[in-house]
Symmetry: C2
DNA sequence: GTCTATATGGTGATAGAC
DNA sequence: GTCTATCACCATATAGAC
């Protein structure tokens, strides 16, 4: 039998470290030399787990989108009224961003070309599923009269804009937690400014 | 006397074409060969107007931030009530994004490292001035009772999140103009969802 | 001012020993 | 599975003719 890996789960470790690096410097600006140095691996070892640099990036994006959708889907309780479900959706997003901070930043700031067509398709499906969940909440809120008759697509995009942009300015060691910020945003979007 | 330039304003032309390229592929993924080819210039000619690729990027960011601040400052009429000024601010942002679409995308998606420390400082000052303008509108709206007593910094960030994220999904040839979207967002943020 | 040709360095990826 | 050594390539940037 072969020699055991140096660490428990090399693939996961590589993805974690790569996300940290990509978030800091951007995808193209990060070299595999840096990645190898940061995790005390050699370039050769990395290529034993991933066929290319692009494959590492793709894996980060897919895993993060999947985590985002799963967190939203499991946080939203279908039996609750629409406003409460919207709150659950937003809180889950913020929690997920906080838990996968570097991956979210990578997704926001990095070059967004996915090489593998099948994976790109998966990514789009996950994003659509996630946004679809949100739109359904808004639609049902309008249908039962708890929300004003707003444009569903536009309003969904507004909610996702607030949450997505968090990756740009949020800091894990900042004064407010992700959930606190999501709660503030929920209040603002539901009650409005006036 | 020397030979005249091939085009009227080579520097501006280079910046325009570079923004288009950076927006499409990202900063690091774009090469000066591509840039030169796209504008039927040679690499050597470009280096006559900019000392480095980084200098081109920096110039795009500074010019865009300046245009954004100027457009907001000149659109907001100090004599109008806070809600109307907020509307003016948001509409100006959307107009500016539409008019400088590729530069806004470059600013959003590109690698954000500015090499020149002085320029980086300028960029931060412009951004702060722009955000300060927005916060003042919100503050005065709260002070005179037209807005609820919300957290000013948080609310300002929310408004800028909506507008900034537009660079990610807005398409100049899409069904709605920038101003129409800004108007929708204004309604949502002022009236709320409920 | 514009071009072609070139210097220089670092990148992603591979080969092959252990 | 991990490493070192190396390849082939393409990038930014420069030099110098016109």
């Amino acid at each position: 039998m072969g020699r055991p890996p140096l660490v428990d789960d090399p693939r996961a470790e590589i993805l974690r470290e790569a996300a940290r690096l990509f978030a800091q410097k951007g995808y193209a600006e990060s070299s595999l030399n840096e990645l190898a140095a940061a995790m005390k691996y050699s370039k050769g070892a990395i290529y034993n787990y991933f066929a290319s640099k692009q494959e590492i990036y793709d894996a980060i994006i897919i895993a993060t989108l999947k985590a985002l959708y799963d967190s939203a889907a499991s946080a939203v309780n279908p039996d609750d009224p629409a406003p409460e479900r919207l709150r659950q959706f937003m809180m889950a997003h913020a929690r997920c961003l906080e838990a996968n901070y570097h991956a979210f930043v990578t997704m926001l700031v990095g070059y967004s070309g996915m090489a593998n067509a099948a994976l790109k398709d998966d990514a789009l499906k996950l994003r659509d599923a996630h946004e679809g969940l949100l739109r359904q909440i808004i639609s049902e809120g309008i249908a039962d009269g708890t929300f004003r008759p707003v444009d569903v697509a536009m309003t969904g995009r507004a909610v996702l804009s607030l949450l997505s942009w968090m990756a740009r300015w949020f800091r894990p060691d900042g004064p407010k937690s992700g959930e606190e910020i999501a709660a503030d945003y929920y209040d603002l979007i539901v009650k409005g400014l006036a």
